[in-house]
Amino acid sequence: MWIPGASLLTKFLLPSPLLVMANPFTEYYIVETQPGSNSLLIRVVGDGGSISKGKICSLKARAVLIDMEEGVVNEILQGPLRDVFDSKQLITDISGSGNNWAVGHKVFGSRYQEEILEKLRKSAEHCDCLQCFFVIHSMGGGTGSGLGTYLLKVLEDEFPEVYRFVTSVYPSGEDDVITSPYNSILAMKELNEHADCVLPIDNQSLFDIISKIDLVVNSGKLGTTIKPKSLVTSSAGTFKKWQEKPFDAMNNIVANLLLSLTSSARFEGSLNMDLNEISMNLVPFPQLHYLVSSLTPLYTLADVNVPPRRLDQMFSDAFSKDHQLIRADPKHSLYLACALMVRGNVQISDLRRNIERLKPSLQFVSWNQEGWKTSLCSVPPVGHSHSLLALANNTCVKPTFVELRERFLRLYKKKAHLHHYLQIEGMEESCFTEAESSLSALIREYNQLDATKSMPVEDLPRLSVAV
C-alpha cells in the first residue's frame, strides 16, 4: 500500500470470483491520506520518479495483483480505481485454476515464479523500509488457495526477514465449490508453515454484519440516519443498494480491518504499534498464529441529538460476536493473548479502565493472565471519532479447523475428485495425508491448551538462591 516513507508492501491476490479486494482498500486509503495530510510527503512513482509535496497528484498502490483468469482484474482496471494500480504489476492468465489447489500451486506456481519474483522485487525496491507483506486470498478455490500459498514460500525464501500477514477467507459449510475442503486443507499446511500471522475470515460473518447494518438503516426509527462515510461497508458517498453487490460491501469490511491494522504504523499516536509487534505479542508459539478479529463501530449515527456512542460501549462491542469477522466464541474459550488497537481521541486511562472492566468475563491462559497488548493512534477513521480493532489469539478457532477436517475426511474417504489433483505433476496422496496430519497437530495443540482452562492458576516454585 501507499505509505509516505513507504514502509509496507501489499499484494493482492484475487481468487475469482469469491472476493474482489482491491477496490475498497485503496479507496479508503486514499480517503485516509488526503484530508489534512499536510505533513505527508508523497512520492510519485511513475516512469520518471518525481517527488511532490502536499496534494496527492497521483497515487499508486504498492501491490501486485495476481489472478489466473482475467475477469476480475479487468473489472478493476476499468473501475474508478484504475489509475491506482500500475498495469505492470499484474499477473494474469486465461483459464483459471478450476478450483484446484494443485493447479494453482504446482502448475501456475512454477510457471509464474520468475515473473512473480521480479515484480515483487520491483515493488520492494520502492520501499524505504519494507516491514511486511499482506497476502489476501481465499482458501476454498484454486488460485487464491494454491498460488496464494505458493507465494508464501517464495516470500519466505526471498525476503526472510519481512513479516507475512495473511488474510484468508475460509469456506462456509454451504460452499458451492465441492473441492473446497481439499483446497483448504492443502492451503492450511502452507499457512501453518510459512505465514507469520493469519487473520481468518468467513463470508457468513461479513454477510451478518451487513444485514445488521441494513436492519438499523431500514428500521425507520427516529434518529437512525447513518453518516454515509462512516459505514464500514461502503466507501461511496451514499449507501448503495448492497443486495446488488454484496461482495463490495463485504470487501469494505475487510479493507477497514487492514486499515485499522496498519493505522498505528502510518499515523502518530501516544502509544504506537508497529506490525512486527503484533506478531511478537500475539504469537506465543510458532504454530498458533491464527487471530480472530473484530471491528467496531460499524457505523456512526448522523443525528446530532443522539449522543455519540459511549466510548465504553465501543469496547464492549469489540467482544461481542456481532462484530467478529469469523464465527467463533472467544468468550467461552481460552485467550492466549489479545490486542486492542484504538484509533481516535482516546486516552490511556480510558483504555485501562475498559480492560479492567472486561477482564473478569474473559478467560486467559494461566501463564498470560494479563495478556493484553494495546496501541493508541490519534487519527480516527473517516466518519468516526474513534474506533477499535481487537485481535484475539483464542482457542475458539479450533471448531473451524475441526469442521474443516471433518469435511475433508468425508470427501477423502471416498476418494472423491481426487484424480483431478493426483494427475498434476508433483501431487501424491502423501500431500493429502501430510496436510491432514499438520492440521491434526494444530488441533491437538489447541486441545492441550483448552485442557488447562478450568485448572486453578498456581504459581510455580521459583529458583532458590543462597543469601
Binding site: S270, M280, F285, I348, R352, I355, K373
Partner: protein, 419 residues
C-alpha cells in the same frame, strides 16, 4: 509510557537558562530510537517552546522499531548501530568541560528502550569506564502495555545490574495514581504522566548548594548522589518521592510548613507510600532492642520499608530551619550503615516549580521488592511454559540467558528482603 520512547542520554552539566537575546540553549543529549515518530515529535515540541532545543544532529533514528523484542534491540540493533551511536555520544562528551557521567532514560517493557538501552549502557561501560552511569527506568504498568513486558524487564534489569551504577526507577502505576488522586486529572494521558516524571527529575537534579555553603552550587550532583545512595553494588535500586504534589487549583488553598511536609514524607518512606494521600500511619519502625525482623521470607508482607540510604533535597523558603531529626533515626535504616552515613541532605533557597516549599526524597530502600518479585514471578510462570521464547531465540537470546537473568534477580530480591 515514555519520555523518550527509545532512550536518551543526558550529561549532567546541562547549560543554564539563558537570558533574553541569548542563544537558545541546546540540551546535551542524544536521542535514540528505532522508529522516527516519537523523536520527531520530541524535537519539534522542544523547539516550539522557544526556550531550549535539542541539537540538530544529536538524534539517531531508524525506520523500523524493535517489535517489542528485547533480543532484537540488544542483538540486532545494538551491534548494527553501535558505531553511529557511539560517535554521537562522543561528540557530546567532547563538548563537556568535565564529564560527570551519563544519565540514561529508558523503558523496560518494549524492545528498543530496553534491549538497545541495555546494549548502549554496556557499551558506555567499556568506552568510559571511569564515568558514572545512572539509568532511569520506566517500570511498566502491572497490566496491559506489552504482553512480553515481563521478559523484557527481567532481561533489562539483569543486564543493567551488571553494567550500570544505579537504577532510578519510576513506576507507571504510581505516577498514574498521582495524576488521578493528587493532580485530579480525569482523563490521564501520557503527556500528564511525563509531566509528573519531569517534575520528579527536576526536583532531584536542579542545582543545590554544595557543602561549602550557599554561594557555591553543587558541581557533581550525579556523583554525590551515587556516593550517598549506593554504598554497595548489590543494592542499586533508587526511588523518588515528592511532596507536595498537587494541581494549581488546590495549591491556592494550601500552606506548607517544613514540619508538616517532612512528617508526611517520612511516613511515606516508612510505609512505602508513593504519594501523600492514603498514607498508612499505623506502620512504625521496629522498636530498638527487639530482635530484628530481617530474614523475612517473601511470603510475609513487608510492612515496614527499611532503607539503606536516603537523600533529602529541600527547596524553598526558610530551608535551613527545617528539622531533620526524623530522618536520622537509626530505626529507619539497616544495621550495617550508621545514620550519619546513611542520611544526607541537599538544600537551596530557590523554590522549585510553583511550590513555595518542596522536598524530594531519593531512597535506596526495599520499596521495589514487591514489584520486582511480581515481575520475576510472572516471567517465570510464562517461561515455564516456554511461551514466546522462540521470538527471543530467533535473535540469539537463549534459554540460558533467561535463566541467568532469573538467578541474578532472585538474588537481588533476596538481598533486599534480608535488610
Amino acid at each position: 509510557m515514555r519520555i523518550m520512547r527509545g532512550l536518551s542520554l543526558r550529561h549532567l552539566n546541562k547549560t543554564e537558562t539563558a537570558g533574553p537575546g541569548a542563544v537558545i540553549p541546546i540540551a546535551r543529549a542524544v536521542l535514540v530510537d528505532m522508529e522516527p515518530k516519537v523523536i520527531n515529535q520530541t524535537l519539534s515540541k522542544a523547539a516550539q517552546s522557544g526556550r531550549w532545543k535539542y541539537g540538530q544532529h544529536s538524534s539517531f533514528c531508524q525506520k523500523q522499531g524493535s517489535g517489542n523484542n528485547w533480543a532484537y534491540g540488544y542483538s540486532v540493533h545494538g551491534p548494527r548501530h553501535e558505531e553511529s551511536i557511539r560517535n554521537l555520544i562522543q561528540k557530546e562528551v567532547e563538548k563537556c568541560d568535565s564529564l560527570s557521567g551519563f544519565f540514561i532514560i529508558m523503558s523496560m517493557a518494549g524492545g528498543t528502550g530496553s534491549g538497545l538501552g541495555a546494549f548502549v549502557t554496556q557499551n558506555l561501560q567499556d568506552q568510559y569506564s571511569n564515568s558514572l552511569k545512572m539509568n532511569q527506568i520506566i517500570w511498566p504498568y502491572g497490566t496491559g502495555e506489552v504482553i512480553v513486558q515481563n521478559y523484557n524487564s527481567i532481561l533489562t534489569l539483569s543486564h543493567l545490574y551488571r553494567s550500570s551504577d544505579a537504577l532510578l526507577v519510576h513506576e507507571n502505576d504510581a505516577v498514574h495514581k498521582i495524576c488521578a488522586k493528587l493532580m485530579n486529572i480525569k482523563q490521564i494521558s501520557f503527556s500528564d504522566i511525563n509531566q509528573v516524571l519531569a517534575h520528579q527529575l527536576g526536583s532531584v537534579f536542579q542545582p543545590t548548594y554544595s557543602a561549602e555553603g550557599s554561594f557555591h552550587y553543587r558541581r557533581n550532583p550525579l556523583g554525590d548522589l551515587m556516593e550517598n545512595l549506593v554504598p554497595h553494588p548489590e543494592f542499586k535500586m533508587l526511588g523518588v518521592r515528592n511532596i507536595p504534589q498537587m494541581s494549581e487549583n488546590s495549591l491556592a488553598y494550601s500552606t506548607f510548613t517544613w514540619a508538616g511536609l517532612l512528617k508526611h514524607l517520612r511516613q511515606m518512606l516508612i510505609s512505602n507510600a508513593k504519594m501523600e494521600e492514603g498514607i498508612d500511619w499505623q506502620i512504625r519502625p521496629p522498636l530498638p532492642g527487639l530482635p530484628s525482623l530481617s530474614k523475612m521470607s517473601l511470603n510475609k508482607e513487608l510492612h515496614f520499608n527499611t532503607s539503606i540510604a536516603n537523600l533529602l533535597i529541600l527547596r524553598g523558603k526558610d530551608v535551613h530551619s527545617a528539622d531533620l531529626e526524623g530522618f536520622k533515626d537509626p530505626a529507619l535504616y539497616t544495621s550495617w550503615l550508621e545514620p550519619v552515613n546513611a542520611f544526607n541532605v541537599w538544600r537551596t533557597q530557590r523554590a522549585f516549580s510553583k511550590y513555595e516549599k518542596s522536598a524530594a526524597l531519593v531512597s535506596n530502600s526495599q520499596f521495589l521488592v514487591k514489584p520486582l518479585d511480581m515481575i520475576v514471578g510472572k516471567a517465570w510462570n510464562m517461561f515455564a511454559s516456554k511461551a514466546y521464547v522462540h521470538q527471543y531465540t530467533k535473535f540469539g537470546i537463549e534459554e540460558e540467558d533467561f535463566l541467568d537473568s532469573f538467578a541474578l534477580l532472585e538474588q537481588v530480591v533476596a538481598s533486599y528482603c534480608t535488610l
